[in-house]
């Protein structure tokens, strides 16, 4: 295996904000736009020649600047992201796209915009329901985003550009699904931490470079085999903490599948949309496949998605994680646990502080006890 794609190297490369590939892209005159929520169609930015960069905190726990703005009743993940926005770490961004993902996220963006205004700022308003009216509204929102990008960056986005970007994204998605296939194997050929690393790199690197890397990783892992005590599915709130997955896997809990918005939920597509208008297709696909608890009247689909992922990977149990004060995942996890347990799938709800190393001991104990419960 080449040195730059070993599991350790992948995780190391995904553990930095920025990085060589991003620097090269910027040095060549490329512009980078930050976004936070999976409801943001990356294809629209890619079609404009902009690099969509998904904001992350990577387990960072420094929050003093953010705490002066938000409060201890706000989720620590959002506060960590805000901290990185305010301390200049994200100054490489040429713009920001806000979405109404949750109450904490909206607060994070408002403070970020106010205290350290990026050159470009756009609020992409995503409906909370899926019906004929909201599909039309979301399409309008994407039209507005397209116009805002065009006006600010002086880049027209034609339907042809959009089709090209969509085709590329579909190709990458299909390859990420292949990577998921490697986890479905028994024993798995790709660890949960590696899969999360790939997903993090996908939303940070220029698409061509990432696709090349992904091809190499897929080719190199085909015969790999990872052993552990139990096969787990990890689902829940925004989790970009590679260290958390590594800690769980060190205990023998192989994260063979996930329902994380930095993971499978970011690339999994259920719906099929084809038509003459690429923006309309994009709007329909993003809204229909938005498997996030911020959506309403859609719980059954979220549950079905987890069931499907659990079945594919033949998991022994499900770990449902959320950050303290995360209402949307906190409540959804309570319901998911009841439903999964009723179906005979053991489920553990893990509430945690984002990125807190001091919390890791408690998390280890609980995961260990859960693995014992699975009689593994």
């Amino acid at each position: 295996m080449e040195a730059d794609i070993t599991p350790e190297a992948l995780i190391r490369r995904a553990s930095t904000i920025g990085g060589r590939e991003l620097d090269r892209f910027r040095e060549a005159g490329g512009r980078v736009v930050g976004y936070s929520c999976v409801a943001t169609p990356r294809e629209l930015l890619d079609a404009a020649g902009l690099l969509p960069y998904r904001i992350r905190a990577l387990g960072s726990t420094a929050r003093e600047l953010a705490d002066a703005r938000m409060s201890r009743f706000n989720c620590s993940y959002c506060r960590s992201c805000l901290q990185l926005g305010l301390d200049g770490t994200y100054d490489f961004l040429d713009g920001l796209i806000e979405t109404n993902g949750c109450d904490h996220l909206r607060g994070m963006f408002e403070n970020w915009q106010h205290d350290r205004s990026p050159g470009f700022f756009h609020y992409l308003r995503v409906p909370h329901l899926k019906n004929e009216d909201t599909h039309a509204v979301y399409l309008e929102e994407l039209e507005l985003l397209r116009a805002a990008l065009r006006d600010h960056f002086d880049v027209p986005i034609s339907d042809e550009d959009l089709r090209r970007a969509s085709a590329r994204q579909e190709r990458v998605r299909a390859k990420l699904e292949q990577a998921q296939g490697l986890r479905d194997h028994d024993p798995p050929a790709l660890s949960g931490a590696e899969a999360l690393a790939l997903s993090l790199l996908e939303s940070a690197w220029p698409p061509t470079e990432f696709e090349a890397l992904l091809d190499r990783v897929l080719a190199s892992r085909r015969r790999a085999s990872i052993t552990g005590r139990a096969r787990l599915l990890l689902a829940g709130s925004a989790t970009d903490e590679l260290g958390l997955l590594q800690a769980v896997e060190e205990l023998g809990g192989l994260v063979v599948s996930d329902g994380l918005c930095y993971g499978a939920r970011a690339f999994w597509r259920e719906s099929v949309h084809a038509g003459a208008d690429p923006l309309r297709e994009l709007a329909a696909a993003y809204l229909d496949d938005l498997l996030c608890p911020r959506m309403f009247d859609d719980y059954e689909r979220r549950l079905a998605f987890l069931r499907q992922m659990a079945r594919r990977a033949a998991v022994d149990g499900v770990v449902l994680v959320h950050n303290k004060f995360c209402d949307i995942h906190g409540v959804d996890n309570a319901r998911l646990r009841i439903d999964l347990e009723a179906e005979g799938t053991p489920a553990l709800v893990l509430e945690k502080e984002y990125g807190a190393a001091s919390d890791l001991g408690r998390i280890r104990t609980r995961v260990q006890a859960f693995i014992e419960r699975l009689r593994r």
């Binding site: 002066a68 703005r69 938000m70 409060s71 009743f73 706000n74 989720c75 959002c78 109404n100 949750c102 109450d103 904490h104 909206r106 607060g107 994070m108 408002e110 403070n111 106010h114 609020y123 308003r125 409906p127 909370h128 329901l129 019906n131 009216d133 909201t134 509204v137 309008e140 608890p293 911020r294 309403f296 009247d297 719980y299 959320h322 303290k324 004060f325 209402d327 949307i328 906190g330 409540v331 959804d332 996890n333 309570a334 319901r335 646990r337 009841i338 709800v349 509430e351």
Partner: protein
């Protein structure tokens, strides 16, 4: 054996409130001091304290109609099934008149039931919160809804026929816990989406969403809205709206002639009964009493020291120990973000104008309007700066209800801007507005006292000295 021993105990929040409601509605409209004293002796301690707060002689005449209104809101839901009507449980940020325009449905406001429960029932609703968390719901949800919903989830309480979901995008805690109840108990949910800005485009979307919502309710109730009946309800709502503006204006006088508790009662009225005769009666009683006190120059303390606008919610678990105590110390609770609901006059010309008016009312309702706005902080700042100036407030208080994550996420900006634009000091408290477990009333009183004594009163004295000096210069010249 005594048969009553075998009667199953209905100890849900709603059922316990119904029992108290039966006592309240049986009371005469005019109560003497002796009757109030007798009543307090027979009621449990927590209930007696809350009822006592509302029955203080200086506000009793305005309180009785409100307490009867609240009692009838509960009784109306209890009777509904026998009358062939459906009970729709709705969050506080939804106008009850939208349900009342249906002959076959009655609204029940979740947060009002919780508030009544924590304010007047022995045990302050804590057991229902525990029921909810025992199911695995997180302990950082909002007690305002979770206490009542916890009681429903226990399956030992009244079960509504349907739920309104109107908080998505304005409050995650509220919207998610309602969804949980719907899924857990199989109660149908009706959604109304709120576009995240107030542009003309968004308002047009809202009108479309609202019609979809109404169509779903029509299917659920099996009733097609009747224009004549709608008009009847909305004309009563408009009557209440006119009175509210009169009620609001009374707060502009110094000292404020309107007792502190009436601010809470005004939104209790809005959130349960707008569109019913009893809302008009309750508001009229409060407004009349306020006007009379203005004419007689009455105020509960020797002087009014602090005129507070509460920036979001208040604290509701000890009415006597907080609302009444404040005014006994010269601290006026002018309004909070919930009582500043700014009702609109609905055009009753046609069914379409009425539906448009109701869609507008939903759009601009408390919390939805600010926390569901394109910018929470800007919308909140704009509203509060306006009200602080309009009501001549000299301080502001943020209750810091810990479940309001959306307000907490932008509060520091709001505090800075309010102080910069209006010059009034802002106190930030922390606690749970519906639970005494987090910060006690005694602790809150201590913090309010210190703030008013060391910041507001001192500022006021400095301003008075400055005015005196300016007057002296004017006299000299």
């Amino acid at each position: 054996m005594n048969e009553t021993l075998h009667t199953p105990i209905r100890d849900g929040l709603f059922d316990r409130l119904v029992q108290l409601a039966d006592v309240i509605t049986a009371l005469p409209d005019q109560l003497s001091d002796e009757e109030v004293a007798g009543l307090r002796r027979v009621l449990p301690a927590d209930t007696a304290r809350a009822i006592g707060a509302a029955f203080e002689p200086y506000l009793r005449r305005g309180s009785v109609p409100f307490l009867k209104l609240a009692a009838r809101h509960v009784q109306q839901a209890r009777r509904a099934r026998a009358e062939g009507r459906k009970v729709i449980l709705m969050p506080f940020n939804f106008p009850p008149e939208v349900i009342l325009i249906f002959r076959s449905a009655v609204p029940l406001c979740c947060e009002v039931i919780t508030t009544l429960g924590v304010a007047v029932l022995e045990g302050a609703g804590e057991r229902y919160w525990d029921e909810a968390t025992a199911l695995g719901l997180p302990d950082f949800l909002c007690s305002s809804s979770t206490i009542e919903l916890g009681s429903i989830l226990s399956s030992r309480d009244f079960r509504p026929d349907g739920l309104v979901q109107s908080t998505a995008g304005a409050c995650d805690a509220n919207s998610k816990v309602h969804e949980f109840v719907s899924l857990h108990l199989g109660i149908p949910q009706f959604f109304i989406e709120k576009p995240a800005d107030s542009s003309a485009r968004s308002r047009a979307h809202q009108r479309r969403y609202f019609r979809r919502f109404i169509a779903e309710l029509e299917r659920f109730t099996g009733e097609t809205l009747d224009e004549g009946y709608m008009r009847q309800v909305l004309e009563l709502a408009n009557e209440a709206t006119d009175l509210w503006y009169e009620f609001y204006d009374l707060h502009k006088f110094t000292p404020c002639p309107v007792p502190n508790l009436f601010s809470l009662f005004s939104y209790g009225t809005r959130f349960t009964s707008w569109g019913q005769r009893r809302a008009v009666d309750a508001l009229r009683a409060m407004t009349d009493l306020g006007r009379e006190r203005l004419e007689r120059g009455l105020y509960p303390a020797e002087e009014e020291i602090a005129r507070c606008v509460w920036l979001y919610t208040g604290y509701y678990f000890d009415l006597w120990g907080l609302f009444n105590w404040m005014e006994s110390r010269g601290i006026t609770y002018l309004h909070d973000a919930l009582s500043l609901f700014v009702p609109i006059h609905i055009d009753t010309t046609s069914k379409e104008t009425m539906l448009d008016g109701l869609a507008e009312a939903v759009f601009d309702y408390p919390m939805t309007r600010t926390m569901g706005a394109g910018s929470m902080s800007l919308s909140w700042i704009e509203d509060m700066v306006h009200f602080i100036r309009d009501l001549d407030a000299n301080c502001a208080v943020f209750s810091g209800h810990h479940a309001c994550k959306q307000t907490w996420s932008v509060f520091s900006r709001v505090r800075d801007e309010i102080t910069r634009q209006t010059g009034v000091p802002v106190l930030c408290l922390q606690g749970d507005s519906w639970s005494r477990r987090i910060t006690t009333a005694a602790d809150l009183r201590g913090q309010l006292d210190a703030f008013v004594g060391s910041v507001v009163a001192r500022k006021r004295r400095r301003a008075a000295r400055r005015r005196r000096r300016q007057n002296m210069f004017k006299t000299d010249s």
